[in-house]
């Protein structure tokens, strides 16, 4: 049943909390040595899926194997093969960076001296040497994430789970995190990461699963996804809100894709293949005497991916209240 090339193989994973099916039949196949992105808004079931794969939650249905080892029956074997960096830093607040890493190293079976050496080495690799003896309370968000990631690498796990590794980080720290993740993969690790940001999945992942309401709604390379969504998206602000309905109809007719309409701001957003399509659209709008107040082109946001893939806009169920919601993702993160 299990394929030796696969680091993660999941079939029909289900997790129910009360009456809420947080994960509702997720299938995943992650090739060894690749970066796999799980993309979705808050509350889509990303974290729950990762927690089941990392043996932190028991699936209510379906099956999952890590390098061929069942997450339920062989949990302790699986734990030897994985490193987990949680969405909320899984390090000890009260202790210093060095103390944290030494304790995790000791738990991984390293000796006293080895543990010291290991933590020194990791602190250096993650640019935390100067903060080594500071209490974590005084760490910035980015430093905490880096320490968290460093802690996940102690046992040289061949598979690393990163749950929203850059949510809440500033753009520069985010870029550093991306670099780190890339170099992990260059070192031969398989990485499964969850994200709310399309550009992050695009930058890092070889393959992406788009997940919504506990289900995988699309899966493929980022090119596959972009083909489905369009390379860019067009934002149109109309002069008159009363034109919005007609404008949306024109857009759908011309581009054969539905537009996301926000009437209060008279704004239409629609994925487009390129500038030529925009010219066609503008010509049509003028013919219809619909006045455009402003126009901009943008990379597609998660909203558009969702609209295109699911036919409905993102509904933020927000079970894991984060600092940025999917709907503001684009503003928060410059593409």
């Amino acid at each position: 049943m299990s394929n030796p090339d696969l680091a993660v193989e999941a079939h029909g994973l289900v997790k129910t909390f009360g009456t809420h099916r947080a994960v509702d039949g997720v299938d995943l196949a992650v090739r060894t040595g690749s970066v796999y992105g799980v993309l979705g808004p808050n509350g889509a079931g990303k974290t729950t899926t990762i927690r089941m794969l990392a043996t932190l939650l028991r699936p209510d249905g379906g099956s999952a194997t890590i390098f061929g080892h069942d997450v339920r029956r062989e949990a302790s074997v699986v734990r030897r093969l994985i490193g987990v960096t949680g969405q909320y830093a899984s390090v000890d607040e009260n202790l210093s960076a060095t103390e944290n890493l030494v304790i995790f190293s000791r738990l991984h079976g390293l000796g006293r001296a080895e543990s010291r050496a290991k933590s020194t080495e990791l602190l250096e690799a993650f640019g935390l040497t100067e903060a080594a003896d500071r209490a974590l309370k005084n760490f910035s968000g980015g430093m905490r994430r880096r320490l968290d990631l460093a802690a996940s690498l102690i046992g040289h796990p061949p598979l690393i789970f990163l749950d929203e590794p850059t949510t809440g980080l500033d753009p520069r720290t985010r870029a550093q995190m991306w670099e780190t993740i890339r170099s992990l993969v260059a070192g031969g690790s398989t990485v499964v990461l969850t994200t709310q940001y399309l550009d992050e999945a695009d930058q890092l992942a070889d393959r992406i699963a788009v997940i919504d309401r506990g289900r995988v709604v699309a899966e493929g390379t980022s090119d596959d996804l972009k083909d489905a969504v369009g390379e860019q998206s067009l934002n149109l602000t109309l002069a008159a809100a009363s034109d919005a309905g007609r404008a949306a109809a024109v857009v759908e007719e011309t581009l054969r894709t539905p537009a996301v309409l926000s009437p209060e701001s008279r704004r239409l957003t629609v994925p487009v293949p390129g500038p030529d399509a925009v010219t066609d659209l503008l010509v049509r709008l003028r013919a219809e005497r619909i006045e455009v107040a402003s126009l901009s082109m943008d990379k597609p946001s998660l909203d558009e991916v969702f609209l295109t893939l699911t036919g409905k806009p993102v509904e933020d169920e927000d079970e894991t209240a984060g600092p940025t919601t999917a709907t503001t993702a684009r503003e928060a993160v410059p593409a």
Partner: protein, 278 residues
């Protein structure tokens, strides 16, 4: 804000050893993991010394308070009350301290770091056993301070230093056994404050409905019935016998039997509940 740039972590990945994939954790590993988790507990105490207030201030306040309030009334004068009250306060403070095990365990389990412990290939029970082990340090501090305060106000145990050490060990062992009760509440309760509430409800009658502060023979019969079977009374009497006469009597045996019984009941319950949650 740090301005460090990241160097490549693959430098750290020179030797990727094939992990040992045996799925059982050995006794040796369990002990090693427990030791590491206890070390973590000690580091936490060092980093947040304010959580030692209960084991430092409480013994001082209670010893002084009970001695000077009850001394004259119970034993005629303070000096002759000391051999009665010091063992009483000692057992009362150390047993109360053991409730903190549960609250801290609950707080700890709610933190993100527990996720990491649970994702590590370690003995699953280690975070629990390590925490319980680290707590013996707290009991030791409370014990030493109680005896020291007693000494400062004139307590001179007749049986000498050796017996005092034995009595201290007895109290620490018994408190450790009783802490399994509170660890159980810590594991099953929803919040740290509810653990504290439940623990107080258990520990107040246990310590006050005993012979810790006043002799039981002035109490009504129905109360004496409880006081005489209360394990805390047995521990207190055993400590008094040890420190005053240097003798080991049936009360010491009953203390240990009672403590063992608590472990026999609550350790499996706690471990089962913990494993289900962890």
């Amino acid at each position: 804000m740090s301005t460090n740039t990241l160097t490549r972590p693959e430098q750290t990945r020179t030797a990727v050893v094939a992990p040992d994939l045996s799925s059982r954790t050995s006794v040796r590993q369990t002990l090693a993991n427990t030791r590491t988790m206890a070390y973590r507990g000690l580091l936490k105490i060092r980093r947040t010394p304010e959580q030692l207030f209960d084991v430092t201030l409480m013994p001082i306040i209670f010893t002084l308070m009970f001695t000077f309030i009850f001394g004259g009334a119970v034993s005629g004068d303070v000096a002759s009350y000391l051999p009665v009250i010091i063992p009483g306060v000692l057992v009362q403070t150390v047993v109360s301290t053991s409730t903190v095990t549960g609250t801290q365990l609950r707080e700890d389990m709610d933190k993100g770091v527990f996720d990491r412990f649970r994702s590590l290939p370690i003995a699953r029970i280690a975070p629990l056993t390590g925490a319980l082990l680290a707590d013996t340090v707290r009991y030791t501090i409370a014990t030493v301070i109680t005896f020291a305060v007693g000494y400062a106000i004139g307590y001179r145990p007749a049986a000498g230093f050796g017996s005092v050490v034995l009595a201290a060990l007895l109290v620490i062992v018994c408190a450790w056994c009783l802490s399994w009760i509170f660890a159980f509440f810590g594991v099953i309760a929803r919040s740290a404050s509810s653990v504290q509430g439940i623990s107080m409800m258990v520990v107040m009658p246990l310590t006050f409905l005993s012979n810790a502060f006043v002799p039981a023979d002035t109490m009504p019969d129905w109360l004496q019935g409880f006081v005489n079977v209360n394990p805390v009374s047995h521990i207190v009497t055993a400590v008094r016998e040890l420190t005053t006469y240097g003798t080991v009597g049936s009360d010491l045996v009953w203390s240990l039997v009672g403590a063992a019984a608590v472990v026999a009941v609550f350790a499996p319950l706690t471990v089962r509940a913990y494993m289900r949650k962890a």
